[in-house]
Symmetry: D2
Subunit: 376 residues, 4 copies
């Protein structure tokens, strides 16, 4: 038996792995941080023998409620990820699985590797619709990528989309892949029409360092980027610093920040009702956006979500709030589940990479519906 | 130089083809009918030499206005079909093209072959969601295929979709391919939700004989199937006879009949305002269906289309009218252009196979929006 | 229940098909000919019920021994073709099969459709290495295709390959597909080297009319093309007439004519030992060709095959003999089995499309080995 | 402008990168070692501007002659890698390139990433022919993978293949991918036949740590694994230790160790003429192996290569020699070029990933030719 996490976005510490019935594991903390919840490892076990893997520090992770009703993901081929029996007793997360092949991967959610990220960027770059902009280096020396889609022009609306500030929320980059696939499809009518009057600015991965390191929530030095939008610094949060600077140069008419939520088994939008500038215009646009999405997909709903901020009480260090206020624009945090969409559950796979990508494509329909009204 | 149409859905008569500057062609009539407009042939020419192909009986074809502002399609690889310079002087359609390779295909619209049709049926059949039903033989001895999608159940709504009554309207089967691709995608939320409460009955090709024969509008014996829905017969219109019989067995809550229109450069829906049973319920559903489609894609519009029938004046031999009246249900004829969508023109490709397929997928969003209200 | 063969290369007559336990079928004769053996049809049956299909004229077909130890092919998706239980009692061929899906295709061997043929030609044409030449029309008005691969040059050797004179031997075109795939692969070393010093002239399908018609052995008017090479005529055998004329223009240094053999469960080469010009040079080349193939693949063998012609006793109406004599060149008829390679049997699939294609690629290794010696 | 190598197998130090005409770079040494030559980095530059990148420590790299007549590889999409203008003056390697897109990757040879490695292993594992064996951990905590292909049985010959002891020789793993693709193809005759009488033991990557780290020649602690086969240790060379232990358990009848050679523009085999046990049997087998390869591909040759060891003078710390002596078996080091095959040059791509893979497939033909004689 052998367990390793020494690969892209790997995260596990092996406490004990001699006996298949008694494997003890712990999730590593994000570097310079107390956050942890993301795991990703490979097990070499005995085919046909049940392996009981106990993650004994699950109860003190960032979101202990995230383990309730949660099932871990497993894969043999690293492409099809299925749910496996998982229990949580308040302290320990126990995954019990009988492998059918010699090695099997486990993860908190379907990983989106840095290799795939680079392939995505280079693929997009090749489109004549895209300009690939280097924003600046991360603290680990990686490159922050911005994709500018459509011919920039002052008269056009600027639509910004960022994803994966929290690197363990890998569904956010699957979402972007689905959205880009549609946006760059030159036979998709809505995409073509959108690009006549809008320019998209997409940052597929706000936190490459955290992604490669197998972090849940922070960058290379333990910063939660989604609390840095009031005053980002090159020392602690260069990722936000560069993006905000680029936003200042282009302006923003609509902003979507793509996330995953550990607890709620639903897709939902968190709006900016609490920012000082929020007004009826914002509210009407937000409503139209949500109504369109509601009309076309059961993957979206408005019943469950975060509590709505009271007027003026928004946390302005959070990306969507900060951007909404700074540019007086419609902005949302979009949250997808780690678990499943309880309105349309899938026992075998739960919420998945493909469903995330489909939602990314479908969200363009909502963007299409509001785009002409964004500056009204 | 050589021109042949001896292949699936081929249609051309060569009058003269010795001189590249003076090629005369004529379109063959549908068997036992005067309709003609569909053409599909292959040219072996001189690479680098302009070939002027004159279809001299274009002016007397079924829809002479169809040739105005029309550009013919060409392909080297039979996958990418692009538009080539085409002129119509009221009598003759002239295609002038300089081939870059030794052989090149030309067609009225992107062909959808009978081989591909069979592949589509067999592919769909493999889904655990699908039952493949043989409806009966055509007059040429081909098999009429019905795909039943979803677990039949009396409480569920029955949604019927038929395509290509007029075999030359090949975009109708591309549309079906796009719709089926989405409907059988087990990670598409709207499709999964739809199949919980609805059963789809899809006939991807109502007229296989006409399709293989290279007809525009009729079946093997020259019958225009879309005028047979009042009293179909096994002698003249078995295709309609079998489908209507199957509809009687299942009932119908929504019916879409997919077509192409030779003249109008738009996608549009023709409703059943003229059928006796048409009422406010129908109208409200029709409105909701159109509004959803309008909201999500610029490929649809409601400004241009057929004149709306006056109350009680519908032609009840036409499929959508006949079915709407017989089952008191929402029904539409959906029309796609042979030319382009003038609201979102594409100079290189015009209206295409992929755009037809995308519309087929998008229409499911409109079905999703109205499905719960169909029996209200 | 319904059985139809009304599609590309379909062939069956239904005598009786009411009762799954007692289905009687007959194979249709080639047009204007007594040959028959190829069958290809689709059954709509009852899932889970055994269907006993008796082909009652099998005993008088062209090669009754071909039915011994033979298993018919079946497919649900028209891509994967597997063997099904088949018996022959000297008179009747009985296929007994319990379908797992509503419709299933049966065939004598994996069909190679005319649509696929056209795709193959157009795909090859796009290569900068290929010139696509129209040779002349068939009697049904189809086009005879010649692919010239490599830059023609007098100093280069001319290698001719023809396939499917006998249209029911569809493995011959799968072989060509494999060979072309390798020959046009610009990173395959042997292919690149071969094209420096040789030009290939490939006719992927010598008999398109017979192929579409579902014939075993003859063209549209019942001519066995492989007995026409002494004096082909435009009336009876234009296919051979055009190819021989083209050969006269280019010369021939090596000729391979690709076939299937109904009886022998082996791949083998039939040489031209009986042609007047046959000499030691021919023999040495033939030996080297065979030795190379023997060395690299167990799919080839030299133990079983046709009896070798005595000196001077070759039938000079047969393609390989005629061409060998006319051009004083190495020539072979290459035969593949309908059944299996008994030296390497595969119970599930028998001899297959992919194995035919692999042999087509492997034969290039043998060509590579002899190419430099062809004019010695 | 920005240059980064912070990704899988990245290697470059940026000395100066402000001015496109004067970019200075240096290759990093392998950890705890003086070896260096592998580079792999990404440039964000100005589209349309020539970038002159000078690697100023090239002259003191492990194989300065490797830079002569060498052209660096570049890629936009990380799939197609093409050669770019490169000069070497004895000290500095200068790559001058005008990017057509915003970011472009450069590498010493086509990279084979650790993600792809993991995909390869998991893909192979799924075959019913394969057992995936964990051999032991590397010093960085990665897993050493062994693929056992075919049903083990004492009577069968054991064929061992290892690749990429030197991690910068990435062509070695492309070679393995091609070989495995063929070996696991259940319709490839030679592969099927081979697996009836032989078992393959394949280690696709002997040095995963060095590969990820962007090393040229050594593992995580600077050990040249191909000098460790006399006495491997868990401290310095666990990779060799585990493989040799596994070889001792199975025995070895044929061993191929796959490498790249920095200097020679040819593919060649280095035999074990200098090992004490070398005898006529070895020599005859070696000859047959080479003759088969020579006969079928111009990518192999025997004119250029390493000097042959004199009897008894072999370096027994080298894998092929050590294994040949220990198991009295045929063994080769197979070398592929970083540059090109000068016998069949390709100006645009040089020696490539696909050509490496094809050679891996072709080598199986040589194995097939000798396999039955290995124990004679
Ligand atoms: Ca989050
Ligand atoms: Ca119509
Ligand atoms: Ca034959
Ligand atoms: Ca080496």
């Amino acid at each position: 038996m052998f367990i390793t996490a020494n690969f892209d976005s790997g995260n596990i510490d092996v406490i004990r792995a001699e006996d298949a019935t008694d494997i003890e594991l712990q999730i590593r903390r994000d570097n310079q941080s107390d956050f942890y919840q993301w795991f990703h490892f490979k097990l070499y076990g005995e085919v046909g023998t049940e392996h009981v893997m106990r993650i004994t520090n699950a109860g003190e992770s960032a979101y202990p409620d995230g383990w309730k009703e949660y099932s871990a993901l497993a894969s043999y081929d690293r492409e099809t990820w299925f749910r496996v029996p998982t229990q949580f007793d308040g302290k320990t997360l126990t995954i019990a699985y009988t492998p059918e092949q010699e090695s099997v991967y486990f993860a908190y959610f379907v990983p989106y590797s840095y290799e795939r990220h680079q392939d995505l960027i280079q693929w997009a770059q090749q489109s004549s619709l895209v300009e690939h902009v280097f924003l600046g280096p991360t603290l680990d020396g990686r490159d922050m990528n911005l994709l500018v889609i459509g011919e920039p022009d002052d008269s056009k609306r600027k639509i910004w989309v960022t994803a994966r500030q929290h690197p363990g929320e890998s569904m956010a980059e699957w979402f972007i892949e689905g959205m880009l696939g549609r946006l760059l499809d030159d036979e998709d009518g809505a995409a073509r029409k959108l690009l006549q009057n809008n320019v998209f600015y997409v940052v597929p991965n706000m936190n490459p360092d955290g992604s490669v390191r197998g972090h849940l929530r922070t960058n290379a030095v333990g910063t939660n980027l989604n609390r840095e939008w009031a005053e980002p610094t090159l020392e602690k949060s260069p990722e936000v610093y560069y993006v905000l600077k680029a936003m200042d140069e282009t302006g923003v008419d609509l902003y979507l920040d793509i996330h995953g939520d550990e607890n709620l088994p639903y897709n939902f939008l968190a709006g900016c009702e609490g920012v000082p500038c929020y007004n009826e215009r914002h509210d009407k646009l937000a409503q139209q956006f949500k109504d369109t999405l509601l009309a076309i997909t059961p993957e979206f709903q408005t019943e469950f979500g975060y509590e709505v901020d009271k007027p003026g009480e928004a946390n302005l260090t959070v990306a969507s709030n900060a951007v909404s206020e700074r540019f007086d624009c419609l902005a949302f945090t979009l949250e997808m589940p780690f678990k499943d969409n309880a309105n349309l559950p899938d026992e075998d796979f739960g919420w998945s990479a493909n469903r995330s990508a489909q939602l990314g494509a479908d969200v363009l329909s909502a963007v299409y519906a509001v785009a002409n009204n964004l500056r009204d």
